[in-house]
Structure formats: C-alpha cells, structure tokens
C-alpha cells in the first residue's frame, strides 16, 4: 500500500496532466463559479414602459419602477408592439403598458388596469422581476388609496389599517441569506468537484490500463496497491473541498451552526465514495475512454438531481431513485443540515451510512482486478 502511494506521488510529479487535474482544475472552476455569482443580487435589470397616458400618474408609475434597485426603465416607448419585439430579442425582461386614460379613470374610480408582461422563459429571473415590479406599481396605487381615505378620515393609523388590515411578514428559517448566490454556489461547487474526483480516478488508473502496465503492477497485493494509489487523490480532493467550505463559512462569513468535524468526515467519505465509483466504472470492462464516457453520464447531470433549484419532493420516482444513487445527494443533506440547522449528529448518521455503502463497490473492483491480472 505504501509503495503504491509513493509510486503514485512520483507519477503525479512527472505528469503535467495529473498535476493540472489535481490543483489547477478545481481551483480554477471554484473561482469561476464564485466570480459568476459574485454580485448575488439582481440590479438594474432592463425593462420597458409603454406610456399611453402621459399623465402625472403614469409618470409616477414609471418613476416608481425606475427607483427600485432591481429594475431600470431602459426604454420608454409609445407602442406595445415595439416593446414586445425587445422582449423577444431578450433586450428587456419585462414591459409595462400604462393604458390611455389611466389618470382619468382612476379619478372616476373606474379601476383601470396597468398590464405587465414578464419573460418567464427565464423562470427565476422572471419571478424576481415580477415581485419587484408588482410592489413598485402597487405602491403607487396604495398611495392614492391612502390619500383617498385621508380625505374622508383625518387619521393616518386607521387609514393604514383599512388599506392593508393583514400584512405578511416573510421569514426564512435557518438561512438568513436571501441571496441566490448562497443556494447555487453551495451546491454547484460540490457538483463540479464530484465530476473532477471521479474523472481523476479514472485517469490515474486508466492510463495504466491503456498501456497494460497494471496487469503486472497489481499482481501482488491487489487491494492494498489499489488503495495506496487512490490515497494521494483522497487527500488532495478532500482538502480542496474543505478549503472551499472554509472560505465560504469562514472568510465570507456565512452562518454555520453545526459541527465542523461532521462536515469534514462527510467530505472525506464522499471523496472515497466517488473514487470507488470511478474505479468501478473503469473495471467494468477496463476501457479507459469508455470509462470516461460512463463517468460523464454518471456525474454530469448530478446537479439537477440534488433538489437545490428544483425541490426533491416534486421529482418522479426514477429521479428520486437516481438521486439516491449519487453520494453527493447525501453529502448536500449533511452540509445543509449542519450549516443551516445545526442538527444533531444522530440525524446525519443515516446519510453518512449511505455514503459508506458505496465503499462496498470496492469488492467487485477487487474481484475484477484479480481476474484481469490473473489472465
């Protein structure tokens, strides 16, 4: 085991490809994801206003939209057709049509209607824009209403109550960051990481398969050498993910309520689980290129199955089954339960157990390698 460990260290030292895979690729990709979401909130998203009224009120509505942080009235147009073309071209995310006679009809209490069209093809962006847009437009409406009531009663407090007798207070349990960045980066980085771990394992063992050197190398002490060869990667990739988590929870100061030792343990187990899965995919038929294709099928779509952007409770049985087949799903459960809830360690035990179950794949790997070297 020791010999294989040092042999692999030497091989890494002499291989630019392996060095890049171990050190450059993860750091570069983690950095890239952090840069992509560095802004965290939407600001100055372009929208168009089609003002057919040209009144004091329509200007007030336009101003209310413009003065939000999220939206920016990039175009003031005179026809809805023009605005719709801009929507199709992706130049704006929403358009607001202020009807002719808005002011007049409001005064006459005819309750006119302002129309907003939102591009929901970009679903999440659309949802965020919709909520800002409605509250901006409706704030103008509410202001008028308060004014109307004030004329009747001279008491602001009861007027406010009349306008909105029940108000909602929106709380988030556990996760105080109302920031898209948090949700995505925390799940995206481990999703990319598991691809790298699996691929690097296939590369380390696959290069030997390609040259056929492994038949001689693994003849004696097969399982010990396999484990020894895996270990350098286990160290480096566990540390990479732990560094990332330290950066997020330490440097960027995201709230972490749980037990660090649980997370560190989960990282190490997940690394080993993915290494063994990669090794298993290779030893199915000992074809380097094919094993890489299989790793692609297995690891690439993992992010979609995690249930971070799309809730797991809405998935069908197959998707849930596939989710259970990915060690990263259990890892995310552990990470979230520790970071956000500070859950009891006992609660995470079933997840840790599930990750360790993947270690059993080492048995077929060992048997298949035995079969290969004895030929």
């Amino acid at each position: 085991m020791k010999k294989a460990f040092f042999d692999e260290l030497l091989s890494i030292k002499n291989s630019t490809y392996k060095l890049v895979l171990l050190f450059l690729v993860p750091v570069f990709l983690f950095f890239l994801m952090i840069v992509i979401f560095s802004k965290g909130v939407l600001e100055e998203m372009p929208v168009a206003v089609v003002d057919l009224d040209h009144s004091q009120l329509s200007r007030e509505v336009t101003f209310a939209i413009e003065s939000t942080k999220t939206l920016h009235v990039k175009y003031k147009l005179s026809s809805a057709k023009e605005a719709k073309a801009l929507l199709s071209e992706g130049k704006i995310y929403a358009m607001v049509v202020i009807p002719h006679d808005l002011y007049k009809q409001t005064l006459l209490k005819m309750q006119p209607r302002v129309t907003a069209m939102i591009n929901t093809q970009y679903l999440l962006i659309g949802k965020m824009i919709l909520s800002t847009l409605s509250s901006a437009v409706m704030s103008v409406s509410a202001k008028i209403e308060v004014a109307q009531h004030l004329v009747e009663e001279q008491n602001t407090k009861t007027v406010l109550q009349k306008v909105a007798p029940i108000s909602l207070q929106i709380n988030s349990f556990f996760n105080t960051y109302q920031n898209y960045f948090y949700f995505l980066v925390l799940a995206l980085v481990p999703s990319i990481w598991q691809i790298i771990v699996t691929v690097a394992t296939v590369v380390a063992f696959g290069e030997m398969v390609k040259t056929g050197k492994d038949k001689e190398y693994f003849k004696e002490n097969t399982i010990g050498k396999i484990i020894g060869k895996m270990l350098p990667y286990t160290f480096v990739y566990s540390l990479t993910l732990i560094f990332f988590l330290c950066y997020m929870f330490g440097v960027r100061n995201w709230e972490f309520q749980g037990e660090w030792s649980v997370v560190v343990g989960a990282v190490v187990f997940t690394t080993i689980a993915y290494q063994i899965v990669g090794l298993f995919l290779l030893s199915i038929n000992f074809d380097y290129a094919r094993a890489l294709s299989l790793s692609a099928v297995y690891t690439a779509p993992a992010f979609a199955f995690l249930g971070i952007t799309f809730p797991a409770y809405s998935m069908n049985d197959f998707a849930l089954f596939w989710r259970d087949m990915l060690p990263i799903s259990y890892f995310m459960e552990i990470l979230i339960s520790q970071a956000n809830y500070g859950s009891d360690i006992m609660l995470t035990l079933p997840w840790i157990g599930s990750i360790i179950l993947f270690f059993l794949l080492l048995i077929p790997v060992w048997l298949l390698y035995r079969k290969r070297v004895s030929r």
Binding site: V25, V41, G90, S141, I166, Q178, F310, S337
Partner: protein, 383 residues
Amino acid sequence: MSFLKVFMQEVRTLFSDFAIILTIIGGVLLYAFFYPQPYSKENVTSLQIGVIDNDRTTLSRDIILKLDATPSVDVKRVYMSQKDAKEAIQNKEITALVLLPKDMKKDIALKKQVVIPVGADGSYFLIYGGVLEAAMKTILTEAAGIKIANLLVKGVPLEGVKKQYTPFSLQTINLFNPQNSYTQYILPAVFILILHQTLLIGLGIFGGGVRERAYKEYDYDVPLGYTLLSRYFIFGGIFFIHLLFYLGFAFDFFEVRHLAGMEDIIAFGLVFLFATISFGVFLGSLFPVREMATPVVLFSSLPVVFSAGFVWPLEALPQTLVMISKLIPAVPAMDGFLKLNQMGASLDMISSEASILFFEGIVYLLLAVVVLKKKKKINRLFS
C-alpha cells in the same frame, strides 16, 4: 486518394470506435430522456406545511382551511408550539410554516394592524418561492374580504365597494412560459448544450485518436481538406438528425412549447453545427490523446450553463466573463435558439448570434488547419 475513399475510411474509423459511438449516439439518445427526469413528474405533489394557530377562532380556522384548499399546499399539522414546528422542519416533515398570531381576529375587529409571519426553509429556493406565493394569495384574499366588510359598515352599496377598493390594478402576464414550467425553462437551453458537448467530445476523441494512430495507419498524403470535409459531413449529418430529434420529438414528448418554423430552425441549426464542428475539430487537433476530450468538455458544462444568461442574467455577470464565454459556440447558440424557438424572435432578430457562430466556425476551422498542418510536418519528420 479520392475524396470518397477518405470519407469511407473516416466512417470506418468512427464506427469502429466504441467510445465515440457510446457518446455521440448512445449518450445523445440517453440524455434526451434521462436529463428531464427531475422536472417531469406528472402529478405535482403538494408542499407539506405546518400552521401554528395561536388565535383559534373561526377566522384562523378559515385561513387554515383556505390554505389547505390551495392545490399546491397541504397543511400537514396544526402545531401547538414553535418548538414542535422547528423539529418538524429539521426532520423534513414540513418545509414551511405559517404563524397565526394570538388575538388576530380581535385585533382585526378593533382595526389594529395585524402581522402574520410566514416562514419557509430558506435552503431550498423554489420551495420558498412557492409557499410564499400560495400563502400570500390566500391570506390576501382574506385581507380583501375584510376590507369590504369594513366599508360596508359605512353603508356604501356593495357594487361601489368592489370597484373602490384599489384605485388601479396590475394585471401580470407570463410571456413565453405561461405555466411557469420548469421543463419549459431548463430543457430548451440544456438540450442545445447536450448536443454541443457530445459533439465536442466525439470530435475530440476522434481528433486525439487519429493523431495517436497517425504513425501507423494514417496516410500523410491524404489531403487535409478531404479529411476535414469528411468530418463536417459525418458529424454534421449525425447531429443534424439529433437536432431535429431534440427540438422536434423530445420537445413534444416533454411538452415544451416551441414557436419557430422548421426552415428557421434548420437555418440557425446549420450555423450552430458549423461553428461547433469547427470548434470540435480545433479542440481535437490540440488533444495529444483521445482520452483528454471527455474531461475537458465535462468540466466546462456547469460554468457554461451558468454564464449563458438564462439562469443568472448576463447583466449580473462580470462583463469580461460574458465576452469570453461567447467564444464557446454553445453560449450564442443557446441564446439564439431560446429567442427564436421559445421567445418568438424572427430569424433577423437573432442575426448577431448567427454571425458570431458563423465567424467562430471560420476562425476555429482556420486555427485547426494551422495546428494540423504543423503536426503533420512533425509527423513527417519522424517517419
């Protein structure tokens, strides 16, 4: 050597390489059904929520009933204490919570301001959004009902009240994805990415493999133009069929709305294939071994998705990154296809995306020719 002979040799090499076939035919077909799985449940399960009812009046019971009647929400338990509720969230028994405060009904009658806290497990973004929407709607209907009751006391006729309660209203229309469907949102872009990535992997393995074999089998005298042209025809042909399958059959199968006409799809599709094949040939010319293509392409997938602008807007990205990401054909291609096929743009509205792709097709081809010629020279020296 004639073109036909070169072409046939390329076809033979390709179809005898199981790893490539696994990717460009097996993988493409598999992904079409595999990838949409998380989003394609037919009956949407409702969200399990809890309610802490500290008011315990007819009003609070009415609110709970109305919440439970919302199709997307299932009031699982009416919890007594806050501690119970917190435990239930940690055990994943419920994912959201509504707290109806003590004396709510009384305070409303007394015209005091009432606040109803609504909470959700913030770790899960969409669950959060969903519950807010549902709870907001129900409780706002409550609020509107109470407003009308308040005014009625003053003796205004009911007809007038209904019109009076907001000076003007806002009608919102969801364009292009009216049902807020997740499949409609994710699949059109990801399908293009899958085609792009599998095409690159196929060409990358092929390119790397050809050069590994070059010392033995490949004829140096084969004109480079012939081999390249063969590759455009072979990979172009296979992926043209894939493209029609993805944007036709697979879209219909997963009920993704698509608007563009066949001839527009084909026109933009051909530019997309031209750019991607050139890029793949160029990447393939750089890889020293056939096994390098899969990792490189694989690692790029998630960063490409999230810098393409449909999940996280381009306006929020660093502008240098936006420029760099456009160098990957998938980025302008996803953009163009979404606008053309989902957002109802005409072909000339996406002319900038098409020109970027066309330009990339030419530049990557030229770069590939330069690299391949250089390598050929080196090979010749060693022979």
